[in-house]
Amino acid sequence: MSVTVRLPTIMRSHAGGQSEVKAEGATIGEVVNDLVRQFPGTATHLKAPDGGVHKFVNVYLNDEDVRYLQKLDTPVKEGDQVSILPAVAGG
C-alpha cells in the first residue's frame, strides 16, 4: 500500500526538503517504519525509545488522530494521506 506522508517543517530537512513523501505499509506502524527506513534522520523526532511514536508527535490518517483509531495498528488504504504533526499541548 502506498500512502502520502506529510511532514512537519522540522523533519523536512531529513527528507531532502520535501513536505510530502511516499511510504509503503499496511498499517500506520509499517508506514512510520518505512518512512524511517527511507529517511533515517526522521527517527530522532519520530521514534520513541520503546519503538513507538515519540510523545511529541501525533499521527493523523486523513483527518483522524490514530490515537482514537487503532494507534499504530490502524490499517491504511492505497492513496491515504498520513500526516505527522507535532503534538503541542498543555494544561
Binding site: 522540522i10 488522530d65 503541542v88 499541548a89 498543555g90 494544561g91
Partner: protein, 136 residues
C-alpha cells in the same frame, strides 16, 4: 519584552472568552521576533477545561503564516480558573523540540478582568517577559 498590538491582545482574550468553559488555544505570529502582530485562533482538540492540544488546523496555519513571511512567536492558551502562569503540564510539554524558541503566552480568565502574560520556558526554568501593548 513582547510587543503586542492592541488588536492582537483583544483577539487572544476574545478567543479565550469564546472557548470558555474550555481552555482555548492559538498561535501568535509576527514578522520580527518580539512583536506579535497576528493571532491565529485554533481548535482545542481536547475540548477540555483542564488541557489543550493543537490540532491539524494549527499546523496548516503555520504553513500559511510561513508563506506570508510570518513566524510563530508563541503558543497561546487560556487558564479558565487559574493564574496566567505555566502549569506543571505546560512546563513538561515545553520540552517539545518542535516548538523550540516559542514563547508560552497565557490568558487567565480567573478574574473579571482577563490577564495576559508571556513566558519563556527552558527546562524547569520559567522566565516571564513583559508584555507591552502598542498602537500600530
Amino acid at each position: 519584552m513582547l510587543h503586542l498590538t492592541t488588536e492582537t491582545w483583544q483577539a487572544m482574550v476574545a478567543h479565550a472568552l469564546d472557548g470558555f468553559p474550555d481552555e482555548a488555544c492559538g498561535l501568535l505570529a509576527g514578522a520580527t521576533p518580539d512583536q506579535g502582530e497576528v493571532f491565529v485562533p485554533c481548535a482545542n482538540v481536547d475540548r477540555s477545561s483542564r488541557s489543550f492540544s493543537l490540532g491539524p488546523d494549527a499546523w496548516q496555519a503555520v504553513d500559511e503564516l510561513d508563506g506570508r513571511g510570518l513566524a510563530v512567536l508563541a503558543v497561546v492558551h487560556s487558564h479558565t480558573h487559574t493564574e496566567a502562569y505555566p502549569s506543571p503540564t505546560d512546563v513538561a510539554q515545553a520540552a517539545n523540540p518542535f516548538i523550540g524558541g516559542w514563547r508560552w503566552v497565557l490568558v487567565s480568565l480567573k478574574r473579571p478582568e482577563p490577564v495576559v502574560r508571556s513566558y519563556r520556558i527552558d527546562g524547569e526554568a520559567i522566565d516571564e517577559e513583559e508584555v507591552v501593548l502598542i498602537d500600530r
